[in-house]
Amino acid sequence: MKQIKLVSQINLPEVYSWLQHPEAGGIDLFIGSVRNHAHGKTVVQLKFEGYEPMAIRQMEEIAAEAMERWPIKKLLMVHVLGNKKVGDPVVVIGTATAHRNDAFEASRYLIDELKNRVPIWKKEYFTDNTVWVNAHP
């Protein structure tokens, strides 16, 4: 079973309760947030923009790849869109598997591929200006 969505806010207790499965001995949750500085400057706010239908399709594809490689009971990928404060959770990846190593490996694959392929863009607001992350070499 999988749950893939774009939301304005991440609800962790809901995430954990959805991931529970009677045959899963381990749940791995990866929660990404944004650090308070980048390039030596202070980030004051953030905005995530997505190409929503394609982002969902890419997340579905990545999830399908993971479910082919690892015996996953439950898989969750949730990303936020919109304005966020530093420290807010912006992405959560969750996998429930019978054996814990599968959960670690699958979650790592899911977050790595999400960062590589899912069309979502982060804009960082520094005290002096704004920057679209990754845009420049």
């Binding site: 923009e49 912006v90 992405v91 999400l114 979502i120 845009a135």
Partner: protein, 79 residues
């Protein structure tokens, strides 16, 4: 031909949607990329950009036709 824009490409091009004139005679992803770089040289400062056709990443060889949903994707930075 209309191209959906996201992130920094909206700022560089100054639009939400890029209208490509018919005279540009775009037939493939490759020719679209070349036209974009010629028309908006600042796009060349990006580390890279991709074209999506119907919500999937498209290779340079992909031919473009009517009724496709085409998007210009600057380097992603989710997560």
């Amino acid at each position: 031909m209309e191209i959906l824009l996201f992130g920094i490409s909206k700022e560089i091009i100054g639009e939400q949607i890029l209208q490509v004139p018919q005279e540009a005679r775009i037939t493939s992803v490759k020719s679209l990329k070349q036209w974009i770089l010629a028309s908006y040289p600042e796009m060349g400062n990006l580390s890279s950009f991709a074209i999506a056709v119907d919500q999937e990443y498209a290779t340079d060889e992909r031919l473009l036709a009517e009724n496709q949903e085409i998007a210009l994707l600057p380097p992603v930075s989710g997560g």
